[in-house]
Symmetry: none
Subunit: 421 residues, 2 copies
């Protein structure tokens, strides 16, 4: 028994809108423990929608439609479904009255084409829409096959899903066994290197472990099928523990944790403060730090020293070092970190200087070369050099630079005692 999501709308095929409905429904199905193997997008076209219906009703037992319930002639979902199963459409008086009432409430005239929205396949139940005019249906056109339809407007679809579809699916016995996942997050190790370390885990069946990577971050998703969230957590916990142990410091957090939130928690725990000095990231590191609510507890601010004059005047970077070593150098990164730490009187000072591109690279200092400086509570300053790759986009280099800076600070905060801090 599995579900299939069918999103109807030419606007999806034209790329006008992002299919957020599919993601919402996918998460909801996982929460209810309903397996779900396919998603299909098809345009507002009767023949193609019928073909999709034929394929889906053959391989899946719960078909969830979004879109095509509007009042205009190109909204065909309900009509096509009725046609496919050879059942007539019935105008439902209660639905018509509900639509009329909503128009009156908004002081608008109901148009004749809204009558279409009151047509429901004979035998189907109405899936009420409390905010919009288009109701959906819940229908078992034959034993073992359930159809649910929703409008394409995300807010209406989500409300209808929660108010009516979830209770209905639970009444059908779903939601007893759920799929619950924890995502473990890693920085400083590539996907294949991490995968090589944890290969045996990929053969587990419950929980399962699957890797994926995005913008330099690697994730392992540990998913368990169980009768409750707490039972799933019990299955996940020992596996997650082992994976974290194997990864060591490359593991930084799970689920909604970010490098910035983890660094924030470590600074809060240590009751220490941070300031930043940014060149090629232009404020992006600060914006990551302050994306975390409550960051004012540990983040005092910083200097965007984009121009060399600002590096010298505000951060006290030595003019002759800027001239001889260049702004993108170990020495300058260290002076920036040390300078902002002194200027703002914080425990930690974190700096970034590099070449984000696309221009500005040379043979010895290519695009993607980044130095990160860290001035520590004892005043000692260290520097790490990164080669982020010459073919990456400017925004990707800026993102990776800021994440590497946060990661360096995270590692030092975690091993403070070993460093005598």
């Amino acid at each position: 028994m599995s579900a299939e999501i069918i999103c109807v709308g030419t606007e999806l095929l034209l790329g006008d809108i992002l299919n957020t409905n599919a993601q919402f429904l996918a998460l909801e199905l996982a929460n209810l423990g309903i397996p779900h193997y396919y998603q299909t997008v098809v345009g507002d076209n009767l023949d193609r929608l019928k073909q999709v219906l034929a394929i889906a009703s053959d391989r899946s037992q719960i078909l969830i439609f979004t879109g095509g319930l509007g009042p205009t002639p190109d909204d065909l979902t309900t009509e096509t479904i009725a046609n496919f199963f050879g059942v007539p459409l019935i105008e439902r008086q209660d639905v018509l009255e509900d639509i009329a009432r909503k128009f009156a409430e908004r002081g608008r005239e109901m148009t004749p084409n809204n009558h279409k929205q009151a047509l429901i396949p004979k035998g189907a139940e109405v899936l009420p829409n409390s905010s919009g005019t288009a109701p959906g249906i819940i229908w078992q056109p034959r034993p073992g096959l359930i159809l649910l339809t929703f409008p394409g407007v995300p807010s209406e679809m989500q409300q209808m899903w929660r108010e009516t579809a979830v209770p209905y699916l639970k009444s059908q016995g779903w939601g007893k066994e759920i799929i619950y996942s924890r995502t473990l997050r890693f920085w400083g190790i590539g996907e294949s290197a991490l995968a090589a370390k944890v290969t045996p885990f990929f053969n587990l069946s419950n929980p399962t472990v699957a890797p994926y990577a995005s913008q330099g971050e690697v994730r392992l998703r540990v998913s368990a099928r169980a009768c409750s969230e707490s039972a799933a957590k019990e299955l996940i916990e020992p596996v997650a523990q082992q994976l974290q142990q194997i990864a060591g410091l490359d593991y930084f957090g799970s689920d909604s944790d970010t490098l910035a939130s983890v660094v924030g928690q470590l600074l809060t725990d240590a009751d220490e403060t941070l300031s930043v000095a940014e060149s090629c990231t232009g404020g992006y590191l600060g914006s990551l730090v302050t994306s975390i609510p409550g960051s004012s507890n540990y983040f005092l601010g910083g200097v965007i020293s984009y121009d060399n004059s600002v590096k010298a005047s505000l951060l006290g970077v030595n003019q002759s070092d800027l001239y001889t070593m260049g702004a993108v150098s170990k020495l300058v990164a260290m002076q920036m970190a040390s300078g902002v730490r002194s200027l703002l009187s914080t425990h930690w000072g974190l700096s970034i200087t590099g070449i984000a591109g696309p221009g500005g690279g040379t043979a010895t200092k290519p695009v993607g070369l980044v130095y990160i400086g860290l001035a520590k509570p004892d005043g000692i300053v260290e520097c790490c050099k990164y080669q982020l790759g010459q073919n990456r986009s400017r925004s990707s280099i800026q993102h990776a630079s800021a994440c590497n800076a946060l990661d360096l600070l995270r590692r030092r905060l975690l091993t403070k005692h070993e460093q005598g801090l």
Copy 2:
């Protein structure tokens, strides 16, 4: 002849990620005039992927795959395709060398499982990946059927699409009748208010005009169908001109223009410089400004004055004003703008202070209250107050604040002469 998009990845079925790849490819296919009737999402599962392949190869002639090209055992796309068409996989020495070179460049160890990414179906061509390790393929397994595969990582997929797939598809005769669009971008006006001003344009047939909105920005997409880009542009131009005229200063740019790029161009044209002082945005305004290549020509840097001590010590904000008016006030915003302009000796100084939430709001100063200060070349400072709404997320308030700041500067740069600057 039509194309079909097949996105492979269990993470899509679990709702872990939003399917932005399908939208990107849908837009690109429309630009090339390639009809496209179906999108399918399927998990990392050999049998189900084979079934999808059977259905898709029966109804579509260009199959575009994303995902499942990684180094781990659950990455099955290439293997499944070869298996479906009964063709062996060949290890390509040139691909292997390219992967090895990329690992070396980043100073990382290549693992044995990366060898998998050099396996290509016999007879297929390599679709090179200039930034990541996973190449795709271009393959005609039988006459009249073209397969293209891409990794799931959006940045890599998009680069590969533009560099190789588009020229290839054009060489196959596509892109002759094209759909070409220009997106007009607006800031400072709501979607319904703009729609009300331009209603008659929504009835045009070639070009068509369609509105959409995202994160405070409103867009009108003007799309023409024509035999060439230049013919399409001729259809679009007069309509775009009229729309821009109706919108006045609320129109800020088109297509890939952003508020930051437009402000950058205006500053470059005027040969003037900018500095920023940020409180609640924590560096985000600076990161938007420096997201533009070449921003070093006009952006000197700034101060992230997150803590009040930094507002006073670096920007010279009056301590008693901070105490009596509060950090989120007109007076402080103006002093921040003026302070950073003096400190960095720039023509313009732009400041933001506000309450990004979720905490920190009061009855008189609710979450979403933001003041933006602008110190102008003549030293005069102005301030705008914004109520961005208490129910918005922290990141949404930070984004809207930075955009409003850029928009204020843009409007003043455009009307400099009227202000006697």
